[in-house]
């Protein structure tokens, strides 16, 4: 893992990707904390993983398929029950254009 210096510009880029608006106080707090963490985690560089395959799960899993038939699921009303932003039976989202 390259020695990646996390500066304010990179932190803001990460925050924008994560859809988080950080306050100045949060930037001041998170910046040194992330620097400290990544510095500590960079010890992983010392482990030789060249020949290892990644373990995306701890146990080997096989794809599970079910028969392609309609099963019982939530009704439209139930699906919309927990949202305040709805209109004519749909979720209503913020404007995209």
């Amino acid at each position: 893992m390259p020695k990646q210096k996390v500066d304010k510009a990179l932190l803001l880029r990460v925050a924008a990707n994560a859809r988080l608006n950080l306050t100045e106080q949060e930037i001041e707090e998170f910046l040194p904390q992330l620097q400290e963490m990544l510095e500590a985690f960079s010890k992983l560089d010392k482990l030789d993983v060249e020949k290892e395959q990644p373990s995306f799960q701890p146990i080997k899993l096989v794809n599970v398929m079910r028969e392609d038939k309609v099963e019982k699921c939530l009704s439209q009303d139930q699906s919309l029950k927990n949202t305040k932003n709805k209109k004519q039976g749909y979720f209503m989202g913020p404007r995209v254009m």
Binding site: V14, A18, A40, F41, L44, E52, P54, I59, L61, P94
Partner: protein, 373 residues
């Protein structure tokens, strides 16, 4: 709308669900101090100035506190059942990854999350585990398995591996209580070295878990999940506003770390490297289990700390507390924490880990430890 599979299964066996307990929001914490707005931090029943541990702190604290027969459901990603069980002096079981369905669980990190059980005794925790185990078509990571009657098991003589490095980094009193318990079992023992797990476990775990968490929490954007606000501004402005107002400090910290680890340009060096490291760490465990049945180490490097001490720790120092519980969780190995003694009048927990699907041996060894009392 619907019940989680574990709740359905427990109810089908006559369980009475009496309520929900507080915990670290999204499972993000080791002390149940990140409970989120509107929730109370659970206090340790043995000393209310100290934490219950986390993240399933309320589950373990209530199991210790109540005088009734009781078993709790907990969820562990990196040690969130074993840690509070240790701090509160109760038995906590985290099963093999995939033994218990996660359908209905709010995800923290999909490749790590495991629902398990907490009880006043090993028998109670084993019974609840037996009830909630089983393949579930609603969880694509759930494992096909034979029904096992964990509640009918009795203590057995097994070969115990004493994990050298995980004893070395613990408080001397905690170490002493745990070694005393293992010695008193009168079973064959062998010192086992897990240098890779003890050295790289925390780093690999936090990179993987936060990367997965950052994608799981993307859904909390104020449309279907999370806070809702008045729909104003563009989608970017709206989502960012809702998320910035709704997430707590620890959630933001982990989302930032995880987003960084899987961003273009950093993904291979951080996220993928951690996933490859995990393979090496699992191999190290498998090698150990070719020599012994069950591995033993202290569950936590210390007894439950006071809130005053916890609030002085940096986030990295808090993460480092998971040293002993993270390896088994990263490898998806079943493990239990059993109370074995006291220090400063607070419970000490011994952690017993078995190979994948080795819950039977783990319960047998746990019963033997419990019988020492």
């Amino acid at each position: 709308m619907f019940d989680a599979t574990v709740i359905e299964k427990a109810r089908a066996e006559g369980a009475i669900i009496i309520g929900k307990t507080s915990q670290d929001a999204f499972g993000f914490g080791t002390f149940s101090t990140n409970v989120g707005l509107g929730f109370e931090i659970p206090k340790n029943p043995h000393d209310i100035k100290r934490a219950c541990g986390g993240s399933s702190g309320g589950s373990a604290g209530f199991a210790a506190l109540t005088k009734q027969t009781h078993a709790s459901i907990g969820q562990s990603t990196g040690g969130s059942i074993a840690c509070p069980a240790s701090f509160c002096g109760v038995a906590g079981i985290t099963p093999t990854y995939g033994r218990v369905s996660r359908f209905g669980l709010i995800d923290y990190a999909n490749s790590l999350d495991k629902i398990g059980s907490i009880g006043k005794t090993v028998g109670d925790a084993a019974l609840l585990l037996e009830v909630i185990s089983g393949h579930d078509a609603n969880d694509s990571t759930s494992l096909k398995q034979e029904k096992e009657e964990f509640s009918k098991l009795v203590p057995e003589k097994l070969k115990i591996g004493i994990v050298k490095e995980l004893f070395e980094n613990c408080d001397a009193h905690v170490k002493k209580e745990c070694l005393k318990a293992v010695d008193s079992l009168g079973m064959k023992t062998e010192e086992i070295s897990l240098p890779l797990n003890s050295k790289y476990g925390i780093s690999a775990y936090y990179l993987i878990s936060t990367a997965e968490a950052s994608t799981n929490l993307a859904r909390y954007c104020g449309m279907r999940y999370g806070l809702h606000e008045k729909l104003e501004g563009s989608f970017d402005e709206y989502f960012s506003k809702v998320r910035s107002n709704g997430f707590g400090e620890e959630a933001k910290r982990r989302i930032l770390l995880g987003t960084f680890a899987r961003m273009a340009g950093f993904r291979d060096a951080y996220y993928l490297r951690a996933m490859k490291a995990r393979t090496a760490l699992i191999k190290e465990f498998k090698k150990a289990f070719s020599r012994v049945d069950v591995l033993a180490n202290p569950t936590m490097p210390l007894v439950a700390p006071t809130f005053e001490a916890i609030f002085k720790l940096s986030p990295l120092q808090q993460y480092a507390m998971d040293l002993c519980t993270v390896p088994a969780n990263l490898a998806g190995m079943p493990h239990a924490s059993i109370p074995v003694g006291k220090h400063e009048n607070m419970p000490v927990g011994l952690m017993l880990t078995a190979d994948h699907m080795g819950e039977g041996k783990m319960v047998q060894a746990s019963l033997a430890v419990e019988a020492l009392k």
